[in-house]
């Protein structure tokens, strides 16, 4: 919750400041999440190579070219490595126009911590640019900066932040689902009225009050790609201090928008059409940003420009976007088809087919190798007859003969694979054992003998392989999440998770209600609060409730129940909970939804189909369901063979018959 907090002390100081103050930037060289696990176990994300250049270099080049003169780099995870890298780079040379300060601390757990530290140390004096260490961009933000400053001058520091967006229509490959946002804005003042991640939702709701004040022109946009570049006033850091529960920029933006009335702060946005900006937030984004870069969308940050100014990093650019570093050798009959970047001292054998791939420095590739959308980092060895599709191969990995990596595989540092193996889609192999991860968290002194406990499984990584598959050692749901974490596929999955956990909560509630004899009204209250906590629609609540109740006997007494036992235990339950049902099932549509939930369950539990009639009968008797609804469901609901089969059930037929007759009778009586 948000506390109104202390007064804005920035007001006085920022007015006195002149425009000539050097432009500052805060670069957060940590992602505070584990999306690149297990790769980021060995190397922080900001240093992962993209087009053979560390990602943080792109961010720094972007800042420098927009005229930033002082950058604060905040690192947490593996801060030493980042520090070493920066000290060696051109950014820390005395002639660099952009002075880079490196601030490290193990205590940063989120963006919020970083900004609170910025405020505590009083680092920024004026408007600053806030970016992550994995943003690749060539946007000239000076225009946005000018607009931001103008707004602050005119409106007396009301606007605290300007977010930079890039126009790109939905379906663009550089838009990842998890970063998909929908923004409502005032089209004249460019003020953000509503900001929401879509998270794969089909239905979005906007509070009406955002449209009631201000100008009369609004835009609701879904064609924006969040570049994760924001121009912040010093107040932003203060607001983070005031609200210690802000962890991410998302929290901040939502907090500001919700409390706009109280605090009087506003957020604006700047939409750029040309220019490129994207954050490498997962491997899918890595893949698409990398390919955008090779296809020169980020010009002038192209591979051959060697903007990091490193000796020997230069490469040449020839047609079909083929880039070759120094001392590259290519065997007889090998083809680099298109969009290929090959680092220095790499040698490629005969008859290889390479397309849309990035190959690092010092790699060796054997004969008859097929690479498509492969990302290979430095010192990788690939033997002959290997096929790699859309995969990431990290530093020092070895792929032996006749190995095939299907889509979205990840070979982390120093892994050995093969020979004669085909890795299924989405396999992640690392030298770190997956279970070691948890141990690592509690106990920093991970001793070696713990690792000895795990041995490489030759069936997984091949007879000569070294490494652990992250997939096999975990149970199914988790593994899929992991692959998803890395590749960042559509997020509908999370939605399902939400529903599942809601279902568990409902089950728990009902169970407790039964044990402690809680009144049904209170149960309804509890379920309602759960509904809001998980953001579940009313329809889903009803379906889940039905499902939970009908499955209750199985939950309590195991799945081996006979139909008779099942109905015996279920029917009293229905009676107890009928007020709960009645509370949710009101409209005609609700009845149908409930019926379809019942149907769905009995389609799954096909041995107990005979119980269905009894359940329906009981529900009818308890007046949970109305006869018209049941009849309508029976006549129209059948969509596939199975449900049609279900409707041919004799008991059900009889029940319907009986219902119809009852209806006739009642209507006759009515007359």
């Amino acid at each position: 919750a948000n506390r109104g907090g202390k007064q804005k002390k920035g007001n006085v100081t920022s007015e006195q400041e002149e425009e000539e103050q050097p432009l500052q930037a805060v670069l957060v060289a940590d992602s505070f999440n584990r999306r690149f696990f297990p790769i980021s176990k060995d190397q922080p994300r900001a240093l992962l190579p993209l087009g053979n250049v560390a990602m943080i270099d792109y961010t720094l080049e972007f800042l420098t070219s927009t005229g930033v003169q002082e950058t604060f780099v905040f690192c947490c995870w593996m801060s030493n490595k980042i520090k070493d890298h920066l000290l060696k780079s051109k950014w820390c040379r005395p002639t660099s126009p952009n002075v880079v300060h490196i601030i490290t601390s193990d205590l940063y757990r989120s963006l919020g911590d970083v900004l609170r530290d910025v405020d505590a140390k009083n680092l920024v004096r004026n408007d600053f640019i806030l970016v992550y260490g994995d943003v690749v961009s060539n946007i000239d933000v000076s225009q946005a900066l000018q607009e931001h400053r103008h707004r602050r001058k005119v409106d007396k520091n009301i606007s605290v932040m300007t977010m930079v967006f890039k126009e790109s229509s939905p379906g663009h490959k550089s838009r990842c689902e998890e970063d998909d946002v929908i923004v409502a804005m005032d089209s004249k003042s460019k003020r953000v009225l509503h900001y929401q991640k879509t998270q794969g939702l089909k239905k979005l709701q906007f509070p009406m009050n955002i449209f009631q004040h201000g100008s009369d022109e609004f835009e609701i946009r879904h064609d924006l790609l969040d570049c994760h570049i924001s121009i912040c006033s010093p107040q932003v850091a203060e607001l983070f201090t005031d609200n210690f529960d802000y962890q991410t920029r998302n929290d901040f933006v939502r907090g500001i928008l919700v409390n706009e009335e109280i605090l009087g702060n506003q957020i604006h946005l700047y939409v750029t059409q040309d220019g490129y900006g994207a954050r490498v937030s997962n491997l899918q984004m890595y893949d698409s940003v990398s390919s955008d870069m090779v296809r020169r969308w980020v010009y002038p940050l192209t591979p051959e420009a060697n903007f990091t100014d490193q000796q020997g990093q230069g490469c040449t650019h020839s047609r079909h976007n083929v880039y070759r570093g120094a001392e590259v050798s290519l065997g007889h009959g090998s083809q680099m088809e298109e969009n290929v970047l090959i680092g220095r001292d790499t040698s490629i054998g005969a008859n290889c087919h390479i397309s849309n791939s990035v190959i690092g420095n010092n790699c060796t590739i054997g004969d008859n190798v097929v690479l498509d959308r492969a990302h290979m980092w430095n010192n990788v060895h690939i033997s002959s007859n290997v096929e790699i599709h859309q995969s990431v191969v990290c530093d020092g990995a070895v792929v032996k003969e006749a190995v095939r990596l299907n889509k979205q595989c990840v070979l982390a540092y120093n892994v050995v694979i093969g020979p004669n193996l085909s890795l299924p889609e989405g396999t992640v192999v690392s030298m770190h054992h997956p279970e070691e991860e948890e141990e690592d968290d509690d106990d920093e002194f991970l001793s070696d003998d713990q690792e000895v406990g795990h041995t490489f499984n030759p069936a997984e990584v091949g007879p000569e392989g070294k490494g652990y598959i992250w997939k096999a050692s975990m149970n199914d749901t988790e593994d899929e999440e992991l692959a998803q974490c890395l590749w960042g596929r559509p997020l509908s999955k999370q939605n399902v998770c939400k529903v599942v956990s809601f279902q568990l909560e409902v089950l728990g509630t009902l169970q407790r209600g039964l044990e402690e004899n809680i009144v049904c009204d209170n149960l309804v209250l509890e379920i309602n609060s759960l509904k809001y906590a998980y953001n579940i629609t009313l329809k889903e609540v009803m379906q889940i409730l039905t499902r939970v109740v009908l499955e209750y006997p199985f939950q309590q007494q195991g799945t081996q129940l006979t139909t008779l036992q099942y109905t015996g235990s279920l029917l009293p339950l229905l009676k107890t909970w009928s007020p709960v049902f009645k509370n949710y099932i009101k409209r005609a549509q609700d009845h149908l939804d409930c019926l379809s939930a019942v149907e769905e369950l009995f389609l799954e539990q096909d041995t107990h189909q005979t119980a269905m009639v009894k359940v329906l009968m009981k529900m009818y008797q308890l007046e949970i369901l109305e006869e018209e609804a049941i009849l309508k469901w029976f006549s129209t609901g059948a969509t596939n063979d199975k449900s049609r089969q279900l409707r041919k059930n004799q008991g059900l037929q009889k029940f319907i018959q009986w219902l119809k007759e009852a209806e006739d009778e009642s209507s006759e009586e009515g007359e």
């Binding site: 939905p170 379906g171 663009h172 490959k173 020169r296 650019h317 020839s318």
Partner: protein, 355 residues
């Protein structure tokens, strides 16, 4: 230490210039005109001459060559920078030779006869120290700067010799030199200019507004209409990014089609190019010849899904072979393409062709 200060100041300037070069060109060609680029390079070289530590002409040439190499590597398509470096190197050679009392002319050409008779190449070391060399070199560079300042005017002055009343002139894209050239002619004569818009950057629009402001009758056409309109055109006057050593051009995309259309209709093709655009580069050095920028202008990023299914390229330059060109107008007069080699040898020392 003031000396050290000076040096860091100098390196800072060089780094800033290099960074500028690397970022130069957001797609619409260089941010600054090549004339300005040439001047800036020369200013920087003058500063290096004045502030760097060197005791003999050889040292200075080494320093300048090194910096020049870095500058050209930073933005290979910006040939003016390399050209100015070569010009300054040539100046140093001449000043050194003058200080020694011998004339540069006699040593310049390595003829086959000389190679045979001399036995081995006479290696000039440039190691002798002369007190006034620095002042002389700076003086000569200043002269070069004055020459650069006057180039556009010098070219524009010749306009009346080439443009006659009631002619129809075609040009493509935007060139500051051509704009000045046409404007100069417009003060005395009345003529019609057709500007090809030069997609995808459409610099032609800018050119047309500039021309119409001074009262020249201007028409903008799409690039596709070039051939159709060519039959009405009396002369084609265009600018270029670089004049290559063989007399060909590296000019903005679309120039080649203009040149071919002009050849088909036997329309004279006149190139307005100041001398600093003359480069000892040949068109076969493919890697640095082309420049591909962000494909945004061709197919906007907003196009969405289609982008992952197609390859989009956006090249900036065209090569125009010398046989399509009628005349070069430079600040020192008009020349035929076949004469370029001679100008080349006057401007640059053969040993400096490769930095």
């Amino acid at each position: 230490m003031p000396g050290a200060d000076k040096e860091t100041d100098l390196t800072e300037r060089i780094e800033a210039f290099l960074a500028d070069l690397k970022r130069g060109g957001s797609g619409t060609g260089p941010l600054r005109g090549s004339g300005e680029m040439a001047r800036e390079t020369t200013y920087l070289l003058r500063r290096i001459t004045a502030q760097a530590r060197w005791s003999s002409a050889g040292d200075l040439m080494e320093i300048i060559r090194n910096e020049g190499r870095r500058m050209t590597a930073a933005q290979p398509s910006e040939t003016t920078v390399g050209n100015m470096v070569r010009r300054v190197l040539k100046i140093i050679r001449e000043e050194y030779a003058r200080s020694r009392g011998s004339s540069e002319e006699t040593e310049q050409q390595e003829s086959l006869h000389k190679l045979l008779t001399a036995g081995e190449l006479s290696e000039e070391t440039f190691r002798e120290h002369f007190v006034h060399l620095k002042a002389n070199v700076i003086e000569a560079i200043n002269e070069l700067l004055t020459e650069l300042d006057g180039t556009t005017d010098n070219i524009a002055m010749q306009a009346l010799e080439h443009i006659h009343s009631n002619e129809v002139i075609m040009t493509v894209g935007r060139s500051r030199t051509v704009e000045a050239f046409l404007k100069d002619a417009a003060r005395k004569r009345k003529f019609h200019v057709i500007v090809a818009e030069c997609a995808p950057f459409c610099q032609g629009h800018e050119m047309a507004t500039g021309l119409s402001k001074v009262g020249i009758e201007t028409t903008v056409i799409a690039d596709a209409a070039i051939f159709a309109v060519m039959s009405r055109v009396n002369k084609v006057i265009i600018g270029t990014q670089t004049v290559l050593a063989n007399g060909g051009l590296r000019a903005v995309n679309g120039t080649h089609s203009v040149a071919l259309a002009a050849r088909h209709h036997s329309t004279p093709l006149i190139i307005c190019a100041p001398m600093f655009k003359l480069s000892p580069q040949f068109p076969n050095e493919e890697d640095t010849f082309h420049k591909f920028v962000s494909p945004h202008e061709v197919l906007p990023f907003t196009a969405g899904e289609i982008l992952s299914k197609v390859n989009v390229h956006c090249p900036v330059f065209d090569y125009v072979p010398p046989e399509l060109i009628t005349l070069f107008i430079s600040n020192i007069g008009g020349n035929a393409p076949s004469y370029i080699y001679r100008l080349m040898s006057e401007l640059y020392h053969p040993e400096d062709h490769k930095l």
